[in-house]
Symmetry: C2
Subunit: 344 residues, 2 copies
């Protein structure tokens, strides 16, 4: 049977001051009327049922995420005892599925994506699941770049594997010049949409991931606390995909965006005639290419371009769109009591 694992850790501090532990990025309606995480689960309709959709998050965020996902069995929200990057989280959730369904194949995705074309997303995800079931590989989905983004990881495809490709190499967060070269050479954005069979995933971790290998028996015994205590944090990309010889990439075009910062709202929302995105009561006069998110009052912007203005929780943030992805540099310079709980 097909399962889905939705990674939903992290507060989303690039969405400060709106995002908090009680209201992390994933439950914000950043790309429409619904929380991102609810869009992520509903997008799987017809591919994976909510009963087989698992969500992995931190303990602090569990209540907010369960509240945002009334269609999901409460037991499907797995709360990590400690944050340990993505490989342990996915090993836990994959083991959780395998214990109920030894033939499980797993689709792994993130809670906080924007997807423009849900049907194309489902078709691509289905193709990735079919590939891993047929070829005994572990798959990632690559999106064709629409800009030389320096904040993403890239996949350089290798030889063909049916309609998919082998993975030649990964390149994480390139410089601008490298990104332009990668785009010109046909590299793909590494979306983080992965697929594997539980059986092959276990085998690959045992082969390539010493950070997790010796801890796996704790999962077999149903003791995730002991597992998380025993692992060393490592990402799924570094811990598995960059080491495996069975990696494959499926190309997908479904208007993917990781909604990584306030500036991303310019890509995932409808803009006004001047290219602005405004959420909440706002008046933008003589203003262009700007983002306004106004929660606890009214925001008026007059005569500025390329700015981000956020009003929430008694705090106003005013910055430039080009600095929004680096918001953590700002938070590092603010008093901790103003910033509150930090997250990924």
């Amino acid at each position: 049977m097909r399962w889905a694992v939705v990674l939903a850790g992290g507060v989303g501090s690039r969405f400060w001051p709106v995002s908090t532990g009680e209201r992390p990025k994933q439950v914000l309606p950043l790309a429409g009327d619904q929380p991102l995480v609810r869009q992520a689960v509903e997008r799987l309709a017809g591919l994976v049922s909510p009963e087989r959709t698992l969500l992995v998050t931190g303990r602090a965020l569990g209540p907010a995420l369960r509240a945002a996902l009334p269609m999901l069995p409460a037991a499907n929200v797995l709360e990590e005892p400690f944050a340990a990057s993505t490989a342990p989280a996915l090993a836990w959730a994959t083991a959780h599925a395998a214990q109920q369904d030894a033939a499980a194949s797993v689709l792994s995705l993130h809670a906080d994506w924007f997807v423009a074309d849900d049907a194309a997303f489902r078709a691509t995800a289905a193709a990735a699941l079919e590939l891993v079931e047929r070829e005994d590989v572990i798959a990632t989905v690559g999106a064709r770049p629409t800009r030389p983004e320096t904040g993403y990881g890239y996949i350089v495809p290798g030889g063909t594997l049916g309609s998919a490709r082998r993975i030649a190499r990964f390149k994480e967060k390139p410089t601008r010049a490298e990104a332009e070269r990668l785009c010109a050479d046909g590299a793909l954005w590494n979306t983080g949409l992965f697929a594997w069979t539980a059986r092959r995933f276990r085998a690959e971790v045992e082969l390539h991931t010493p950070e997790l290998r010796d801890a796996l028996p704790h999962l077999d015994r149903g003791d995730p606390v002991a597992f998380f205590k025993a692992v060393r944090p490592v990402s799924i990309d570094v811990g598995v995909y960059e080491r495996t010889e069975r990696g494959a990439v499926v190309v997908g075009d479904f208007g993917w965006d990781d909604v990584g910062s306030w500036a991303a709202l310019l890509r995932v929302h409808r803009r006004d005639e001047a290219g602005n995105v405004a959420v909440g009561p706002a008046h933008l006069v003589g203003t262009s290419s700007s983002v306004v998110w106004s929660e606890d009052g009214t925001t008026v912007v007059y005569g500025l371009d390329n700015v981000v203005v956020v009003r929430a929780r008694g705090i106003s943030l005013v910055t430039r769109t080009d600095l929004a992805p680096d918001l953590k540099k700002l938070l590092d310079q603010l008093p901790p009591d103003l910033v509150g709980e930090r997250g990924a």
Copy 2:
């Protein structure tokens, strides 16, 4: 005896969203810890006592101004029944003084100025009063320009009159090129600090100000409502000073600023190392030459220059310092219920 008349009409809509009818510009601590109007009255200490200091304002603003001026007898706050520009207001207040003191000489000033050097202000005001008492002229005080300001009126001085000068002509709100020429030619800013004897003022109005002349008997009968109904609105500059043959100008250097917009706070407040002025809880990071006024929460500005950010009454305003003097153009484009009561 010497009297003072403080003009305190107008809400100060260039200080939206902070200024309102209940809290007009004059009662805001825009240039220090005290309301501007209180600084204006206290600045007269030793020159004119509070008992002989009159304040003219609109009916809506009377309560806020009395509350800000506990040292002033309540009866000294004169509430205009209708707004009719400055000449009727000053005629009323001058008549009010003359009825108690036929030999009154009157100093007229505005409630919302910044003055860097209070002692120099008093010395200049005293010189203007002495001049009008000695020479039977009506006087204005001209400040030596420190920049080619286009928002002010200018006075071109004429022949000498003791240590003062006659007035050759006025030039209201010049273009930038005209302002530069006026500064180069030794013209002075028209501060609006005036002095006259009540007797000479009455004579000049009767000679030159048909907008007021026939209404003066209403003041003699103590009926300001009939007076304001009968006058035609006209400013003291146009209605008296530009028409009189007895005008004189006293030069003063006391660091005068009319605190005309949010951007003026950059001149009248101490700046931080990056040239910013912040009032209220604010954090400015990578930001320069900007003004932040934060009343109902915390404001964070990151990576911007020359901006104005104001947070008050559930409204955030974000604009550029160079647009702050034109804030009324913005207010014209906002919903009336957001703007509230408008004023001068």
